[in-house]
């Protein structure tokens, strides 16, 4: 794959992990993670970004997973699309879909955080501050604890690339406040590295030019 004829379109939550592996000359575009709030909006934004890239690229890489099926229905005119075969970015941070499923077996009620997620200021724990303004601290806390009642664990994923001291402090404080068990779990850069450098083996969905991404591609 020629770096000059390859482009990556990635979510703002994962781009920081991909950049260290970005081959020189490869075009890179970031889309706001906020687009995830609405699956149709994310799909539309991804399709627009793909359409704007097909004239200059032969291969378009997506720094996304299935992401609530937002990638289903995408199509690249004359370009090959490559997408990691994972449900969402938690699996990207953990390094594989298998590692993600293993974490579900450990504790299905896990709220995952990463450095980028904490820095984005858009986790449920940031919304808590708005709830405090709206209802006062005690009621906001009870709303949050109620919401988190099936959650047992707050997990910080450490991909090993960053200084995480402030993230640990944040997660410990947050876990304590909402009655969760804090755990730091090892992540991996494997999928971030391979999406831009290859090889694109069975861990990736490869969609031929003009073909449409389907849910089955991920299974």
């Amino acid at each position: 794959m020629s770096a000059e004829r390859t482009k990556i379109i990635a979510c703002s939550l994962v781009i920081e992990e991909i950049v260290p592996y970005l081959p020189s000359g490869m075009d890179c575009q970031t889309l706001d993670s906020e687009l995830h709030v609405n699956t149709d909006v994310l799909r539309r934004s991804l399709q627009e970004a793909i359409d704007a890239s097909t004239s200059s690229a032969e291969i378009i890489l997506l720094g996304y997973g299935l992401c609530s099926q937002a990638v289903v229905g995408l199509q690249a005119n004359g370009c090959t699309l490559v997408i990691p075969k994972v449900d969402d970015c938690i699996a990207l941070f953990l390094g594989s879909e298998e590692a993600y499923k293993a974490q579900f077996k450990v504790a299905p009620g896990t709220y995952y955080l990463t450095k980028s997620w904490i820095e984005s200021g858009r986790s449920i724990f940031d919304e808590y501050n708005i709830l405090v303004d709206r209802y006062g601290e005690s009621r906001a806390l009870s709303l949050m604890r109620n919401f988190l009642k099936h959650y047992t664990r707050l997990a910080l994923i450490n991909t090993g690339r960053h200084e995480l001291e402030f993230c640990r402090d944040y997660c410990l404080r947050t876990a304590d406040r909402f009655g969760l068990r804090y755990e730091e779990i090892p992540g991996s850069s494997s999928l971030f590295e391979r999406i831009v450098q290859g090889p694109h083996d069975n861990d990736f969905v490869i969609v031929q030019p003009n073909e449409i991404v389907t849910f089955r591609d991920f299974k």
Partner: protein, 210 residues
């Protein structure tokens, strides 16, 4: 007066909403009227969530208020004779998934529509569904899941039902998150519901048809 209930629920005034229901019951207001108000309020909450005003904890509380209200009016509802045939529905969030906001709303809507509902909760393994099908003998099984990972668990649960020789005993519906016809086929269910009302419509259709 009943609009006070709509406002209380929509504005997350839990205590006030429950007091209001008690008052309405004391005033001999029909349970159906109370439930209609609750549903009207839920629609407002849903709109506020869609437009970003409300967050998930608020949506969840509203769902729980619905369930509490259902519990409050149930004894009164039971006094009214059922005029149309209703049946039993087994519901639960599949293994590995702990999301239940949608499931709770579906349970509430089914109960309002006079179905007998057994809710197994969240992260329910296939074995638990099998056990409950044998004991509760539902006509309909409703599998819920929010994560795309849950689609595999739905498939596995339905395969387990098939493997236990119980597939012909029940109709199976799935719902939650981005469930669609493709996922319905993938999981091997009979139909999917895009929202709570669609689930009720399916249950009515199936149970009358059986």
């Amino acid at each position: 007066m009943s609009k006070k209930l709509v406002k209380a629920i929509a504005d997350m005034q839990e205590e006030s909403a429950l007091k209001q229901v008690n008052q309405m019951m004391a005033d001999k207001v029909e349970p159906a009227v109370i439930m209609d108000d609750a549903m009207e309020a839920m629609e407002i909450v849903g709109q506020r969530f869609e437009d970003g005003t409300y967050f998930l904890p608020e949506l969840m509380l509203a769902g729980e208020m619905m369930n509490q209200i259902t519990e409050q009016v149930k004894p009164e509802m039971a006094k009214t004779p059922v005029t149309e045939p209703k049946g039993k529905i087994l519901i639960g969030t599949v293994a590995g998934d702990i999301h239940d906001i949608g499931k709770n709303i579906v349970s509430f809507m089914l109960e309002v529509n006079r179905f007998e509902v057994l809710d197994l909760g969240v992260d329910v393994p296939p074995d638990k569904f099998l056990e409950a099908i044998r004991e509760f003998k539902p006509q309909v099984v409703a599998l819920s899941g929010f994560l795309t990972l849950a689609f595999d668990a739905m498939k596995e649960t339905i395969e387990a039902i098939q493997g236990a020789g119980l597939r012909d005993e029940v109709k199976i519906m799935i719902g939650g998150g981005q469930v669609n016809e493709e996922i319905n086929k993938y999981a091997g269910a009979d139909a999917y519901g895009k929202d709570a009302m669609a689930g009720v419509t399916l249950a009515k259709k199936w149970i009358v048809a059986k």
